[in-house]
């Protein structure tokens, strides 16, 4: 056990707790057998942005793990919750498999991925990760170690998918992988001068590709509001990259080129002027239209992972990654939100727009059919006001905010956005009547 002060990836709200590194089921059970009022929670690599993976004054469970097995015919992998997507990719990509869903960083654990029911650029086609989990092993407060599948206990299963770790400690999972021919991506890029064109392009061409995402510029307004670059991608087939004598290329290399040193974190590096300069550069350096470019998996899926600890660039006060989704028939909210942000002029250059497919079955899962916009906003004095305003726009449109990113929303916004919250609560009170599993997020949002 060690006393630690941890924060989310946004570095906004450090919390002190005791960390218990657990190597097996017994040690987890031992930790949760004696939890005081302040609760316990599993924590992975701390990539959730707000306060989802911290429990101030409580006990944090850290898990180590390994890849237990991979069925080479069906592509089902059994993997411990503490294993990261990074580790998993290094093992499976050379064998011709890929994770069904990856977020923008490969440094998330499988446990965290399930707890947040992560989505990726392929959500419009493949859904979130919950759809690919065949079963999972969970340690709950009441029943101890249980194996849950959608058939055995659909309530508990779908309360755990996207349940933010509050139903118990996820220990391992059976995940269905997708086969890939090569470790390369075939990418199509288009640049559009305003948000309407950008969204129209996404609507018309998303169905042609497995992966789709757009970068949006919030530093411009007026007729250029929401200009951006949309990229579509598909796993490249081996015919496409023409390797000699039928040999398959399966090399996978993912490395961190540079890590931001700690002292940088005391001051905010990202300022309005460099955010504007970056946005201008990023937009102009993108091709108007380009098809069939080959990119590596890290470049296409995890470009930010090339820079370690990039969150330090936001300085001591940190940043909020605000992500919301609004229904398909309310694209106007995306435009209004972009207009609000453009007017406030924050030092913001990382914005991602994506169109989701149908929602999964997770009770607290974030994705739903519609538009999702993500913005990295440095914490400044006016940010609270801006976010409350955005929250209201989202709530009014029947949308919701993403719990894994949240650090400042209110119980009202969350209960309005998640209509199955009460159903989830009843499952939680069945498996954890004494509220052993808590997080700062669950306290703040009164989950």
């Amino acid at each position: 056990m060690s006393d630690v002060i941890v924060a989310g990836w946004g570095r906004t709200n450090p919390a002190r707790s005791s960390l218990y590194e657990c190597a097996n089921q017994q040690s987890v059970e031992l930790v949760i057998s004696d939890v005081g009022e302040r609760g316990a929670l599993a924590r992975g690599l701390g990539r959730s942005y707000g306060d989802a993976a911290q429990v101030s004054g409580g006990k944090l469970v850290g898990l180590t793990g390994r890849i237990i097995s991979l069925d080479p015919t069906s592509g089902v992998v059994i993997v411990d919750a503490g294993v990261s997507i990074d580790e998993l990719l290094r093992y499976i990509v050379p064998k011709g498999w890929f994770v069904p869903v990856t977020p923008g960083t490969r440094y998330v654990t499988i446990g965290g991925a399930i707890a947040a029911d992560i989505h990726g650029k392929n959500h419009h086609r493949d859904g979130s990760i919950g759809a690919w989990i065949e079963s999972l092993n969970l340690i709950t407060a009441v029943d101890g170690f249980v194996t849950v599948s959608p058939a055995s206990d659909p309530q508990l299963f779908w309360a755990t998918i996207g349940g933010m770790g509050l139903t118990g400690v996820i220990m391992s999972a059976r995940i269905k992988l997708i086969p890939i021919d090569t470790p390369l991506m075939e990418v199509t890029t288009q640049r559009h001068n305003n948000i309407d064109d950008l969204m129209e392009a996404m609507v018309s061409k998303d169905s042609d590709h497995r992966y789709s995402v757009a970068w949006v510029d919030t530093t411009v307004s007026g007729s250029r509001l929401g200009r951006g670059v949309v990229t579509w991608g598909d796993h490249a087939s081996s015919e496409r990259i023409r390797v000699g004598r039928g040999r398959r290329v399966r090399k996978y290399k993912a490395s961190q080129r540079f890590s931001v040193p700690e002292f940088i974190g005391s001051r905010r590096t990202i300022r309005r002027w460099n955010a504007v300069a970056f946005s201008e550069f990023w937009f102009r350096s993108a091709p108007h239209s380009r098809a069939d470019e080959l990119q590596s998996i890290p470049k296409f899926f995890h470009p930010l992972d090339a820079v370690g600890n990039w969150n330090r660039l936001y300085g001591r006060r940190g940043f909020v990654q605000y992500q919301f989704v609004v229904p398909d028939d309310r694209p106007d909210v995306v435009v209004t939100a972009l207009r609000c942000v453009a007017r406030e002029r924050p030092a913001d250059f990382l914005n991602v727009l994506k169109r989701f497919g149908d929602a999964g079955d997770g009770m607290l899962s974030f994705p739903m059919r519609g538009w999702t916009l993500t913005m990295d906003l440095p914490v400044t004095d006016g940010l609270g006001q801006l976010i409350h305003h955005l929250d209201e726009l989202v709530m009014e449109a029947g949308g919701r905010i993403y719990l894994a990113k949240d650090g400042c929303s209110s119980p009202q916004v969350v209960s309005a956005g998640y209509p199955r919250l009460n159903e989830w609560r009843s499952v939680r009170s069945r498996v954890d009547p004494d509220g052993i599993f808590q997080s700062d997020l669950s306290r703040r949002l009164e989950l």
Partner: protein, 253 residues
């Protein structure tokens, strides 16, 4: 909880009628705030303030009886608070009286009142709040001290001494709370033009409750140990505190 944007969900103000305290609430109660508790002796007057605050901020405002001089009750008060409202995210200690120095000279009981209201009472309560926050491992405490705590003047010797006691206690608490996840900031305003100082001739570098509130809000976003309002008083008092007494007496005359 405190939010990522530095707002607070549950706020308690000790000295719930304090003008500076209410100015701080005006600044620190945001849409993220769910509960505000005014802890004060005069519950009736508190109710009016609570209604006004509720109307302007649209959050739950409650008035709870609290008498700084009932030293043995503070512990129970905090325990009851926890049962009713859960974690305390921000506690503002603004309780205090100015007292009348002439009356204090004449009546030792008046000295006792000032010391209880400004020093002993707040210190005991701070201790109880700090202990609770240590358990919850997060929380912010704001202690309203005064520049009068730095060097004693004849005109308000008892007030100065009482604030010096509180200030010193808060400094000690700051040390105790180091790396606990709880942060405490000491605020030392100069002469604040307001109800408490009505009729007194304003001193140089005087300030207003609103300025104090702004300084408090800024301090909650960073985490300095001591905040002077206005900021220049830090340097003014760096000199004043070491002035030889004969000169000091002429300065403050």
């Amino acid at each position: 909880m405190k939010t990522s944007t530095g707002e607070f969900q549950t706020i308690v103000l000790f000295g719930g009628l304090s003008e500076i305290g209410l100015a701080i609430l005006d600044r620190c109660v945001t849409p993220a705030t769910t509960t505000v508790v005014l802890a004060c002796r005069n519950v009736d007057a508190g109710a009016d303030v609570a209604t006004a605050l509720h109307n302007s901020k649209n959050c739950d405002v409650q008035v709870v009886y609290w008498d700084a001089s009932h030293l043995k009750d503070h512990d129970r008060w905090v325990a009851q608070f926890m049962t009713d409202h859960g974690d305390i995210d921000l506690a503002v200690m603004a309780a205090g009286v100015l007292g009348d120095q002439d009356q204090c000279d004449a009546d030792p009981n008046a000295v006792a009142d000032v010391l209880l209201s400004n020093s002993a009472g707040p210190s005991v309560m701070l201790s109880a709040v700090a202990q609770q926050m240590r358990v919850q491992a997060h929380g912010r405490i704001v202690v309203l001290s005064s520049v009068a705590a730095i060097r004693m003047r004849a005109a308000n010797a008892t007030y100065g001494a009482s604030k010096a006691g509180l200030d010193a206690f808060a400094q000690g608490l700051q040390e105790r709370l180091h790396a606990s996840g709880v942060e405490l900031v000491i605020v030392r305003p100069g002469f604040v033009r307001g109800r408490m100082t009505q009729g007194l001739p304003p001193a140089p570098f005087s300030t207003t409750p609103e300025h104090v509130a702004d300084a408090v809000w800024r301090s909650l976003q960073a985490a300095p140990a001591v905040v002077w309002v206005p900021g220049i008083l830090r340097w003014v008092f760096a000199v004043l505190r070491i002035l030889p007494s004969p000169i000091w007496r002429r300065v403050v005359k």
